[in-house]
């Protein structure tokens, strides 16, 4: 029992300065990447493809880097992992923009993350690589499938959106992007780093409220989200439900994977909705 055995020093306090500084640097790099990517997009030609890849890498690589900074809390090794992940993401984005099936490269990103982070047992604190029961994985898939199915039923019944897979390649690419970038970076940062961190300090409801708010801000700022008011309202409801479900799954199972599977299942359903 740790309260009876662990050494205790009443006057010792944690220092936040290294984490805050690193987060600022990562945020600046992220912003620079987005601006630089936009500039390249405006150049046209190959620069457009390059710019989109830089932009996507900056956003998702930035999320992963920030999650690493918070999770490792000043421990060394985070920068190397972030750079390698960014390189992997850049390659996947570039291939996705250049080749019809190139987005399948995103499927290599989760194994790459596992490979890079396997030497950091401290990342167990965010539910990364912690053991998980198969039932939890099934429940995660079930939550995502239920929300995705509900989204499809409600959207088609209420607003008349069509459900269709127009192109197998495009659908597969979108799902691969969700697997390797969208759902991965969101779960890594919002559930893994932020929810886990605040859960330890504020309890479940405080942590889930703030991490869900951050999730909503991230998606509402995403230019890929349909701009129709009912679509944005629906996005708020479903993404909030998805974030709540993922946080509950993270707390219940002790792992990030069930929430990640829920997000993949939800977005896999969402990608069949013709919203444009």
């Amino acid at each position: 029992m740790d309260l009876l055995t662990a050494p205790f020093e009443v006057d010792r306090h944690r220092r936040f300065a290294p984490v805050v500084g690193a987060l600022c640097v990562a945020g600046a790099l992220m912003l620079g990447g987005v601006v630089g990517g936009q500039w390249l997009v405006r150049q046209g030609g190959l620069g457009r493809e390059l710019g989109l890849a830089v932009e996507g890498t900056a956003i998702h690589g930035g999320f992963i880097a920030q999650g690493l900074i918070i999770s490792l809390a000043g421990r060394p090794g985070g920068a190397t992992i972030a750079l390698r992940m960014a390189a992997g993401l850049f390659a996947a984005f570039l291939l996705g923009h250049l080749l019809p099936w190139g987005s399948l490269a995103f499927l290599l990103i989760p194994p790459l993350l596992v490979h890079e982070c396997r030497g950091h047992p401290t990342l167990r604190r965010i539910g990364f690589l912690s053991p998980v029961r198969p039932a939890c994985l099934l429940v995660g898939l079930g939550v995502g499938a239920f929300l995705g199915g509900h989204l499809l039923v409600t959207s088609s019944l209420t607003f008349g959106y069509a459900i269709s897979v127009v192109s197998v390649a495009a659908y597969t690419s979108a799902v691969a992007y969700d697997v390797g970038a969208n759902a991965l970076s969101a779960e890594w940062l919002f559930r893994g780093a932020l929810f886990s961190h605040w859960w330890r300090h504020w309890g479940f409801w405080g942590a889930v409220t703030v991490s869900t708010a951050f999730t909503l801000v991230r998606y509402l700022l995403d230019p890929a989200l349909p701009q129709a008011p009912e679509a944005r309202a629906g996005a708020i409801v479903y993404l909030a439900a998805l974030a709540l479900g993922a946080a509950a799954l993270r707390a219940w199972s002790g792992s990030l994977v069930p929430g990640y599977l829920a997000a993949i299942a939800f977005f896999a359903a969402y990608r069949t909705l013709v919203v444009w």
Binding site: M1, D2, L3, L4, T5, A6, P7, F8, E9, V10, D11, R12, H13, R14, P121, T122, R124, R125, I126, G127, S130, F146, H150, V153, T154, L157, T158, F159, S196, H197, W199, R200, H201, W202, G203, F204, A251, G254, S255
Partner: protein, 501 residues
């Protein structure tokens, strides 16, 4: 249970769709049944989950109606029906959770009292208490420490087998009497935990057990993950109850020990009373014998003088015998009178006057030596002796008793040595040493008690009332002095009388 309620929810949805799928279907109220069932069976989590699911099931029925006809009365009704199940599920579940938690805590309080009141070693009872607290507060691990310091407190834990280290938070709390709260031990800079942190936070709470008379120990609690609302207050309530329980157990133990001590004292006093009673009986028998001997002599010689014509020289001898026996009788009566005064707690009546101790002692020894020619007496004062303010008769009786004892318990030809010296502290020490049989060490503490005569085969024939030394002590203490004895069995005894000048 959740699966069954979910099935019921689907059945209600199927019924609503079959009935027309309108937001104001009368069947929509049935959504509350599985939600309430889940809430009352599984609490707020199950109720909230089922309520949320009921809401989700109603969304595809309500939103198209709003889309078709706007926010009509029926649509509002549908929206209310949509919002009701989650609200009912959460509220009913919370009420159920709170009442269950309250009942669990009350049961825990009762069980804690029972555990503390049991017989057996304290750590075993504390293990049982920790188990009860663990169940009552739904904690992962519980430690109960009872003691005033961190050195060796009694420790109980659930799961059992926990140990305490001096640098731990519990030890710190035990010493300082202060509480420790941590939302997560793994992230708390004050703690150094071994190994990588677990995925879920480890909440920690240490509360001093204090019922108002100072801390009697600490209650340490660890939770993995979430802690229900109100748990900290319940833990404080239990800590207070534990403090009261420990205080009560200590009082009970103290009472039990006091009763045992009292029992021992009563037994010892009863034993002593029996001894005194037996000594008194022996004393009466001795007194009868001691009085009869001189009386028989007095009666015999008086009768001879009265009934026969006795020549003058024989008559004079008889009268001397009568005189000696009368004096002996007088001494016995005086001792009995002193005894009666001692019995009622009255100090001997002293007539203090200046007394030249050296000359007085020397004269007494000469007189005693004349009567007891079989023993050798030696008077050896060490330096000049001061003049005392003392009762002459009392000092005589002290000396006579000590010399008489020395003679009685010494073999014929034995030496009785009397010394005296003046101390620098205004005291005079008078020592009477003999080469007699000595006194067993176990008997020395009661040698100055009344009626005490040491049973010894060699001295069984010695006559006496068992009052001499008690009188010596009473007389010496009446002068503000004290009397001490040292003795070695078979080698002799030394009595030291210390008197103030």
């Amino acid at each position: 249970m959740v699966a069954a309620a979910l099935g019921l929810l689907l059945a209600v949805t199927a019924g609503v769709v079959w009935e027309g799928g309108t937001p104001v279907s009368p069947l929509r109220h049935l959504y509350l049944v599985p939600v309430a069932w889940a809430a009352l069976s599984g609490g707020a989590r199950a109720g909230g989950f089922l309520g949320l699911m009921a809401g989700f099931f109603q969304v595809p029925l309500v939103l198209p109606a709003i889309e078709r006809a706007g926010l009509t009365g029926a649509a509002v009704d549908g929206l209310v029906s949509l919002a009701m199940p989650p609200a009912v599920g959460v509220l009913a579940g919370l009420l159920r959770d709170q009442s269950r938690a309250r009942a669990r805590r009350l049961a825990a309080l009762l069980q804690i009292e029972q555990c503390l009141a049991r017989e057996g070693p304290l750590p075993v009872r504390l293990d049982a208490v920790a188990g009860v607290v663990r169940r009552g507060l739904n904690a992962a691990r519980v430690g109960v420490l009872v003691g005033a310091s961190a050195e060796a407190p009694a420790l109980g834990s659930a799961p059992p087998g926990a140990t305490l280290t001096p640098r731990s938070a519990a030890a710190w709390s035990l010493v300082t009497g202060r509480a420790v709260r941590s939302p997560d031990l793994a992230m708390d800079a004050r703690f150094t935990l071994p190994g990588p942190p677990a995925p879920a936070p480890l909440r920690g709470l240490i509360l001093p057990m204090d019922a108002g008379a100072g801390p009697v120990g600490v209650l340490a609690l660890e939770w993995r993950g979430e802690v229900a609302t109100g748990t900290a207050a319940a833990a404080a309530e239990i800590a207070l109850h534990l403090a009261l329980g420990v205080e009560n157990a200590r009082l009970t133990l103290r009472q039990r020990r006091f009763a045992e001590e009292l029992e021992d004292k009563v037994a010892a006093a009863t034993r002593r009373l029996r001894e005194i009673d037996q000594a008194k009986s022996e004393f009466l028998s001795v007194v009868s014998h001691e009085l009869r001997t001189p009386l028989t002599a007095l009666e015999g010689f008086a009768e001879l003088l009265l009934t026969r014509a006795v020549p003058p020289e024989r008559a004079a001898r008889f009268l001397r015998h009568i005189h000696v026996e009368a004096r002996r009788l007088g001494r016995i009566v005086a001792e009995l009178l002193d005894l009666s005064r001692l019995e009622v707690g009255v100090a001997p009546d002293l007539k203090r006057e200046p007394l030249e101790l050296a000359a007085h002692v020397e004269r007494q020894i000469e007189l005693f030596a004349g009567v007891h020619p079989a023993h050798r007496f030696r008077w050896a004062p060490e330096g000049a002796l001061p003049t005392l303010r003392a009762d002459r008769d009392a000092v005589d009786r002290v000396l006579q008793n000590l010399l008489s004892n020395a003679v009685k318990y010494s073999p014929r030809g034995g030496e009785v040595r009397v010394t005296a010296r003046a101390g620098a502290d205004g005291l005079v020490e008078l020592r009477v040493e003999d080469q007699g049989v000595g006194i067993p060490a176990g008997e020395l503490p009661r040698i100055f008690d009344k009626y005490v005569r040491i049973a010894n085969r060699e001295t069984a024939s010695v006559r006496g009332l068992g009052l001499g030394l008690s009188l010596v002590r009473a007389l010496v203490e009446a002068h503000g002095g004290r009397v001490e004895v040292e003795s070695e069995l078979g080698k002799g005894s030394v009595f030291r009388v210390i008197l103030p000048v």
